[in-house]
């Protein structure tokens, strides 16, 4: 069964410290993985997706199929990074086109 696990509900770091938000998944096929972010009083929005291999706002994420992980990393956290982060997996097979599975989220708190 498809599952996304984010083991940390809350992660607190000081400004300038490295950040790693963990995400592990369970999926029988070839996964498409995403990170979504929700800032205070804003809607859920896409941060990055593994297929693009991009860096957004200094964040990167590498898909590790051997460890079934897609951890989100940033070398130097900023206070404006404080938000709720969700890892999501797209899957489900035919005829479903775009079924997303979300983790329970990690709240990142960057302290000054």
């Amino acid at each position: 069964a498809q599952r996304v696990t984010q083991p940390e509900k809350l992660l607190s770091v000081f400004k300038g410290a490295p950040v790693e938000l963990k995400c592990n998944y369970s999926y029988s096929g070839s996964p498409e993985l995403f990170w979504y972010v929700q800032y205070s009083r804003q809607r859920l929005q896409l941060l990055l997706r593994h297929i693009s291999r991009e860096s957004i706002k200094g964040f990167t994420a590498d898909l590790n199929k051997g460890e079934t992980s897609f951890h989100l990393k940033k070398p130097f956290a900023q206070e404006e990074d404080s938000a709720m982060y969700y890892c999501a997996l797209s899957g489900g097979g035919a005829p479903v086109v775009n079924k997303f599975y979300f983790g329970s989220g990690t709240k990142l708190n960057v302290k000054p």
């Binding site: 996304v4 984010q6 498409e32 995403f34 809607r43 859920l44 929005q45 896409l46 997706r49 297929i51 969700y86 999501a88 797209s90 899957g91 489900g92 005829p95 479903v96 086109v97 775009n98 079924k99 997303f100 599975y101 979300f102 983790g103 329970s104 989220g105």
Partner: protein, 117 residues
């Protein structure tokens, strides 16, 4: 671009009633999905519609139903409301197409906060 719009923003109902939630996708997006987000949890998939047909359904009872209109807007209906239906209901649209790679991101609305008394 107005983004995904949902109405109403808040709704209070009592047990046993029914509710209809509405969603307008981003212009050009033909796929609409519905999610339920209970406090402290991530969004949970309810339905996906594409070209007015149901393409996927999550583990929700038959009390939950949805439809998509010719203009690609969508409604989510919930009958015989239970206290456990209290949640934030999110609508998302995407450019996903049948047969296309599953790498099209979902674009979310602000949600409808449903409270059951």
């Amino acid at each position: 671009d107005a983004g995904v719009t949902q109405s109403p923003t808040h709704l209070i109902k009592t047990r046993g009633q029914h509710v209809t939630l509405r969603c307008s996708p981003i212009s050009g997006h033909k796929s609409v999905s519905w999610y339920q987000q209970v406090l402290g949890q991530g969004p949970q998939f309810i339905f996906q519609y594409y070209e007015k047909e149901e393409r996927g359904r999550g583990n929700f009872p038959d009390r939950f139903s949805a439809r998509q209109f010719p203009n690609y807007s969508s409604e989510l209906n919930v009958n015989a409301l239970l206290l456990g239906d209290s949640a934030l209901y999110l609508c998302a649209s995407s450019l996903a197409r049948v047969g296309q790679l599953r790498n099209q991101p979902q674009h979310f609305g602000d949600g409808t906060r449903l409270s059951i008394l």
